[in-house]
Symmetry: C2
Subunit: 201 residues, 2 copies
DNA sequence: TATTATAATGACTTAATAGTCATATTTCAA
DNA sequence: TTGAAATATGACTATTAAGTCATTATAATA
């Protein structure tokens, strides 16, 4: 990896750490530079502006997660098994980056700070993920595993919301360091709710 | 209603309209004053600071919704029926204030802008609502309507997430003006998913 | 080594906006 | 009618932080 790439990654990593420590809204380019141990002007050699930097911070994590999920889900057969793996891998990713997601989910849930262009990138990423899930659900409907009367696209959004909400609930209750068994339990909990609902019969 | 209260409400309403038009992040005290047709200093006679104003904007809507829901749910018997009414009333409230929630849900999903104190109020409001729902779920577990192996508190958070996500999905697809029938359909969709899941059997 | 190209610096400029306060206007009771 | 209290005003101050760019340092090359 070249020196240039190293500095690029250094700035990204420093921004990430800072966001975990102080949140998005308190992040300034001065602080990023200080954290990275470089001058502010240097940050602007690698990122167009603050919006660009934040965009890259958000997207880099997402791409890593999505790759992991696709590999693992690709090894599974059947829509149910695919969704189980997807949920499990998504939860794992959240807990491996728990302090970052704590900020994203609890402290500043959102993308206020992003300008129009970066917001569009953000929405496109989300759509890529939900489309991927919607395809799995569709295959499950076609194979007879899932009900025919559900909207696969909307239901994909619902599943993502459930995964996220499970993490938010744990974070709100101070549960940050989940053991492997706890992650399995959380996976089952969400899978159960998503598959069977809360009703008894 | 006194003149003072009228001006207080005027500022609140103007802020609300502005948020619908330009979003939270672009909201300035100058714009609020201009929208209300008063001087900026006057805004500070009725609200301690910007944070206080935003806090009041958010809380006033929530209290109205919560009151409505409690009245309607109070008339129902059985946990299932109570949840059905709650979902329906919550969805109604979202669509009656659709442009405000569009901003909240899509454009700036969150509360970045709130300082610590107001963020706590926000979290407390959310907790009051989820606690209320958790109690209904608990009663459903005790009555045998719902499964015994679910965490009533966590599941309450899940339900709120599903309601919110349903609205987000519609907003993302440009569906803002829902007819009464569409609201009923959305209610059934969420109730179905929450009660039965997506599985066939 | 000398020269050019590339990378880095950080003081400075600029812009935005929250909050203040001396002054002006309005209200209302005596 | 009058003057004191309550309201309202908006120009002004103070702060914060993004982005720039002339200058300096480092690396590459001949």
């Amino acid at each position: 990896m070249s020196e240039i790439q190293d500095k690029y990654e250094l700035i990204l990593a420093s921004s990430r750490k800072l966001i975990e420590e102080i949140g998005f809204s308190a992040l300034t380019m001065d602080k990023v530079a200080q954290k990275a141990g470089i001058a502010k002007g240097t940050v602007y050699l690698y990122f167009k502006d603050k919006d660009d930097l934040l965009e890259k911070v958000l997207s880099s994590g997402f791409e890593k997660m999505f790759e992991r999920i696709k590999i693992r889900v690709g090894n599974e057969n059947g829509a149910f098994n695919k969704l189980q793996s997807l949920i499990n891998e998504n939860i794992r990713h959240i807990y491996e980056n728990r302090y970052f997601f704590k900020t994203i989910f609890l402290d500043e849930v959102n993308v206020v700070f992003l300008k129009k262009k970066s917001k569009e990138s953000y929405n496109l990423r989300r759509k890529r993920y939900t489309d991927y899930i919607a395809d799995i659900i569709k295959s499950g409907i076609e194979s007879g595993e899932f009900r025919k009367d559900i909207n696969n696209s909307k239901t994909a959004y619902m599943l993502v919301a459930l995964i996220k909400t499970g993490a938010i609930y744990n974070f709100l209750n101070g549960m940050f360091d989940l053991t492997s068994e706890m992650i399995e339990k959380d996976t089952e909990e969400i899978l159960n709710l998503f598959m069977r609902g809360i009703s008894v019969k």
